[in-house]
Amino acid sequence: MPPATALLLLPPALLALAAGAGWCLRPVAPHAGRPVTAAAAWLAIAALLGTWFGGGRAAQDLSAPLPVAGLPLVLRVDALTVFLWLAVLTPAALLLTFQRRTASRAAVAALAAAAALATLAAGSVAMTAFGLATTAGLVLVLLRQEELAGSGAYWAALSGAWLLLAWTAVVLQVTSGTSAYGAIPVTALQLPPAVLLAAAAVLASGLLPWRTWVSEAWSRRCLEAGTFAVALLVPVGFSPLVRTYAVGAGQLPSQQLNVALVALGAFVSLGAALRAQSAPSRRAFLAEAVPLGGGMALLGLGLGTPLGIVAGLACVAGLGAAAGLAPLSADARGPLVAAGVAVLVGVPPAAVFGGWLLAEQAALETGTAAGFAGLAAAVAWVVALAAAVRWARLPVTAPDTEAAPSPRGAAAALAVALAAGVGLTAVLALLVIPAAAEVMPPTGRLARPAVSAAEILGAGTLSVSTASGGWASALLGGPLVAIGLVGAVVLRAIRGRTEAAAAIAGTAPEPLLPMPVTSAPGRVVERIRAVRLPDQYRSLFRPALLERAGSGPPWFWVLVTAALAFVVTR
């Protein structure tokens, strides 16, 4: 393997090394785990940017001579991998730096992050399934280390996801002889495997209109492990769905699947917004930040147009920012936290806003039907804004750590989100558009790139400009942030330091909109659990009898054998 190529694997390697170091250092330096893993995460980001942008940005397929789990070990480091790595590494680095963790938990967290990066670089569906299962397993250890309860929904969803991926890999292997993204013939991507891939993504990223494991992660007493899981696994869940476009030469096998994904995306956003506006606590509100962005991302990705894919990936970037910002804003107070909450619900000019704006534009440009889905997403956006205002009146959950969370974490995460929003044009030009181009190859006789920067970025300006509208993120958003900061400093100098409005303790204000179906999924689960065989039929079905059949003379065995013999002789 050439050294330049090997350098691309530095990020996961650094995290794995840090995990090992943190684990080994426990006896001698019990507090060393956290700084070591945090430093490794930031170093990984630096190394990734350095090696990718310094190395010509060429896609690399790395294959190992030895198979893993009986599967050929193929890793693909291309623009999409780099983008998704950054979407995972940025919140992971923030959380590893600012969340309180013991050395052992920090080590497991770093190892899980390394596994997540390896999963994102997987070159085949089968390897993605292997990686997802491994990451999910490590995250389960992290969750259970922290708190025994509250990981059932997570484990079920992630297991379903990797099983579906494994099944897809098998179907592709059987129909086309390979499950490697780069080698599957376009004709092999029929509807069934595409649906399975999409279903796996939906389960892994919690993209359902009702409360999924992503929101459940916030109902735990301690937030560290759950929110870290969200930061790692939600982007990982999106990767097979995005890669599906690469397999299908830039499109899904059926338009109906596009429509279904777009509709699901809109419903996911609406569901999250409605839950957010009826949240009983601040944590419950923050729990919906990622599902809200996830729905918008799915809406964009489901459109299947070049702008849709770009918008979807931009939403994933915003989602990464939200996954870092929300946990660091939890249980804290002050203007920074309020600003953070505003950013989470898509107030300009942050990264979340940029992604959602592009998703809306992409929906509008795709056609009227998609436009109406965009309309639904816009309504979700408006409801989320209302929920953010209600947030200020929600009771603060007692912090699970000894000291209140450090505002520096929230400040850093906010800075990242704002910087990504102001520099949206750069993010799109350098990361998102190349990533989208990876999955949308040139088509047509002219071999013109399907995703062209000229159609998304304003020519000769620093603004985003598509057919339906534009947004000068740097020229308007940048000055706006600067003016806001200066204004805040001046105002503080004039008015002096005033206390932030304290949250109203005790009960939460009533929801803005009634939520009649909120508890429906829970009720369904309860109903299923409550299903019992009626007493009068119990005597007909007693599994224990099957065991007792072997205690006396085995007439039952003889009977079963005779019955089967009768069946096979018919």
Partner: protein, 250 residues
């Protein structure tokens, strides 16, 4: 490019125009709604300056209003038309509207406001979905006969939403920065764009102030009646239905 955008944010059609139009509209609103007489009404803008800007967070509504104002189809705006966006304006204006009234938050009032916000966004976006554009000036210029009924109905709904949107029933709401972005956006979307000259600018300002006056008049008309908010939802549904029909026809 940056100086022009700074000019747009801080002077025209940004902060400067936002404060000017806001001050005029606030005086009008105070005269019409509180009936304290001209002397007290003139004090309204100063009261906003004194009471609505205490904490750094209070700066957010004017900042967002500035941003929303830059997106309007205002004549002679330094922001190039291709960089303007209805969604940027709408989201910034709605966020500003929420924050402006945040201090006087009650669940009942918030419900009405949310209903108005949802109806307003539907009114703004339904024509945009049909004409597949988010550029305010492009939407304002749409005169396709088949799309006109929808445009008129959406415009009517948008105007009806104004009293709730601007919280005209709440004296303590710091709405001064909201008048231009909200009323100006309606003018940008539902009236043909004015020319890039002094006359056009005058026309735009007059239209914006007339829209503001209409909002005040509506507020006077509906008062605190419970019927008003209930009217918005059916109208919004009707607008949606018209949008669907229009999209099928065109």
């Amino acid at each position: 490019m940056l100086p022009l955008h700074l000019l747009a944010l801080l002077v025209y059609p940004g902060l400067g125009l936002v404060l000017a139009v806001g001050a005029l509209a606030e005086i009008g609103a105070a005269l019409a709604l509180t009936g304290d007489g001209f002397g007290a009404a003139v004090q309204a803008p100063a009261t906003w300056l004194r009471q609505a800007l205490r904490r750094p967070v209070d700066l957010v509504p004017p900042l967002l209003a500035m941003l929303a104002a830059t997106q309007l189809a205002a004549p002679l705006s330094p922001v190039p038309p291709v960089e303007r966006n209805l969604i940027v304006a709408a989201v910034a204006a709605l966020a500003a509207a929420w924050l402006a009234g945040a201090s006087a938050w009650t669940a009942g009032q918030a419900r009405t406001t949310l209903l108005a916000h949802v109806c307003w966004i539907l009114a703004l976006l339904a024509p945009a979905v049909v004409s597949e554009s988010l550029r305010p000036q492009a939407l304002g210029a749409v005169v396709v006969p088949a799309a006109l009924p929808l445009k008129i109905a959406a415009g009517l709904l948008a105007v009806l939403c104004l009293p709730a949107l601007l919280r005209l029933g709440e004296p303590e709401c710091a709405r001064l920065p909201l008048w231009l972005p909200i009323c100006g956006l309606l003018v940008s979307l539902f009236l043909p764009p004015a020319g890039d000259d002094a006359l056009g600018l005058l026309g735009f300002l007059v239209a914006t102030l007339v829209t503001a006056a209409a909002a005040i008049a509506l507020a006077l008309l509906v008062g605190r009646g419970a019927l008003y908010p209930r009217l918005l939802a059916p109208l919004a549904i009707a607008v949606l239905a018209m949008a669907v029909v229009t999209s099928v026809l065109t």
